[in-house]
Amino acid sequence: MSATAPSRPRSRKATDWWRWSGRIYLVLLLLFTALPMFWMVLTSIKTQFAAMQYPPQWWPAEPTLENYTKLLDPRNSVGHEFLLYFWNSLKVSVLTTILGVFVAVPAAYAFSRFRFPGRTFLFFSVLLRNMFPAVVFLMPLFILMRWLGLVGSHGSLVLTYLTFGLPLSIWLLKGFFDNIPIQLEQAARIDGATRFQAFLLIVMPLSTPGIIATSIFSFIGAWNEYVYALTFLNNKDRLTLPVGIQRYFTEFATDWPGLMAATFLMSVPVVVLFLVLQKYFVKALTEGAVKH
């Protein structure tokens, strides 16, 4: 960053101007996205009384972790419910994610590698689901689930979330497989691998970033989903977090600090997931499978 040449200052000024406006823009964007979260965290460490004060108290005079200890203590009735919902959500989301990978990987591989009648039609019909708003399918799916006898079960949600997540997963993974030269598999098969071994030992490791990225997408989709969970689940003990939190904390009067603490805890798994896997995630979205 040394500027010496006499003709440089002008252009340097221009780049500075660009750089600074870029930074300001990013800061604004950050404020826009982070402020509500910040407010959420601040509210979650207030007492119910402090949270309702007007004009609002930005920084709580007496910050408290009571809302969190209540939520995380299974002996407490609030905590009991919260942990149950958390467990339900985790179950539904993890199942959706794992099943999603098991369905999407072979499907994407087949679309990428095999030519079969109806391939193009099938591939685009996979996308059909995404061309309509999700609520359009609410009633048809409800009727279908009732017919299958699944209403009220977590299975109904897993199945539904799978259909929501799969199109993106299949498309993204197909792109990954397309990028892996077929000769790699051919080489492996000549080197003594079966077709399946070639896939497992050569193709899968190369598409790990893609599999992880699609897993994150399906997990988040399932973790945050509200409308279907609200419609399909009728038993209080089976509720997932988005519905459970909303029901519990607004049943009589809204307990804002409790609600915010619960919401904050709900965002923890997603944040952790992102932090742990972001390396793969970035790789998936920028590099593709094989760096050229």
Binding site: L184, A187, R189, I190, D191, G192, Q197, L206, K291
Partner: protein, 365 residues
């Protein structure tokens, strides 16, 4: 090592016949080049031998086994790909070890074999690197190494040198040839470069449009091309092909050009020409067999130089014989320029005659 036999092999994609009734035998220890222009079915033929794509018709034998329905892994062959197909997430060592691991070889033995192959190929220093940290030439060696670590029945190579720069390509060509001689390996080598085929192979299979045109030693293919395609494909610069009319004046056969000149045929060539019912005959002449005179000469055919291309060793001159272009090579010290009148003399012993309709070479019966 083993012999590889193809009998009436066919591969169709829908209505396209990518490989059409191809038969040839690669003897144990032979180096055979599969050569032809892009899209003629070379890779498809190789993939059929490897078992990477299902065969539509015919039989393939490797050794004494019919392999039509065998998986690639059970055919016991090794293959080198044009893009090398090194496993990008494995180190060089693991790339070389992979075929041995797949065959459940003990660890110590694998290490020994890999190190031996690395030593032979002079890539020992690279064993811990990933493929993307290697130059093109080094990747090529690793790909070769992965084929050499085990003793396959045959090596299949699909344009293994075509991604290297010209100098390295010539160097690797020599090395490959030496490997072949030392190992006594059966090699089927695909290339679109006829020079590679001619310089390396014991036999060459010239393909065009899915059909095998000629299967013979490079010398035989060069000296006795069976048709105009092979004649034009093998040799550089290509053989000049001049379409002419057969003319019979009182029992003496000659070839007449539309430009007005005519070439009386020698007894041997006349015998060949009598074997065709067609009046259209194509005269083929390689650049080194045509003599050029700068003065009028009895029996020589007049023409005008078109371009002059000095290469250092020889100078190639294109000559317009009234419609047909003939390439002649000259000593570089001979003074010649474009648009100069010249006279050409064909060596009757070394010209080729083709039937103008079937494009097949005319042979004395």
């Amino acid at each position: 090592m083993a012999r590889v036999v193809l009998e009436n092999v066919v591969k169709t994609y829908g209505s396209v016949r990518a490989v059409n009734d191809v038969s040839f035998t690669v003897e144990d220890g032979e180096f055979v080049a599969l050569v032809g222009p892009s899209g003629c079915g070379k890779t498809t033929t190789l993939n059929l031998i490897a078992g990477l794509i299902p065969i539509s018709g015919g039989d393939i034998h490797i050794g004494d086994r019919l392999v039509n329905d065998l998986d690639p892994k059970d055919r016991d062959i090794a293959m080198v790909f044009q893009n090398y197909a090194l496993y990008p997430n494995k180190t060089v060592f693991k790339n070389l070890a992979f075929p041995l691991q797949m065959r459940k070889m003990p660890k110590a033995e694998i290490a020994a074999k890999v190190n031996e192959a690395a030593r032979v190929l002079d890539i020992e220093r690279l064993l811990q690197r990933k493929p993307r940290e290697l130059s093109g030439g080094q990747q090529q060696r690793v790909a070769l190494g992965r084929a050499l670590v085990r003793d396959p029945r045959a090596f299949l190579m699909d344009e293994p040198l075509s991604n290297l720069d010209a100098k390295l390509r010539v160097q690797m060509r020599t090395e490959l040839k030496r490997f072949h001689q030392e190992l006594g390996a059966t090699v089927i080598y695909v290339t679109h470069d006829q020079l590679e085929a001619v310089t390396m192979a014991d036999k060459m299979a010239v393909m065009s449009g899915g059909n095998l045109q000629q299967y013979d030693s490079p010398k035989r293919v060069f000296d006795h091309p069976v048709n105009m395609f092979v004649a034009g494909f093998v040799g550089s610069p290509a053989m000049s092909l001049i379409p002419l009319q057969l003319d019979n004046v009182a029992g003496t056969l000659s070839l007449k050009s539309e430009a007005g000149w005519s070439l009386p045929l020698s007894e041997a060539n006349a015998a060949k020409a009598r074997n065709t019912s067609s009046r259209n005959v194509v005269l083929g002449a390689r650049h080194s067999t045509v003599r050029l005179h700068t003065q009028a000469q009895a029996g020589a055919i007049p023409g005008v130089t078109y371009t002059v291309e000095p290469t250092g060793d020889v100078t190639f001159v294109q000559i317009d014989l009234g419609g047909a272009i003939v390439i002649v090579s000259l000593d570089p010290n001979i003074e010649i320029r474009a648009d100069q009148p010249v006279w050409l003399e064909f060596d009757q012993e070394r010209i080729h005659l083709f039937d103008g309709e079937t494009e097949r070479a005319l042979r004395a019966s």
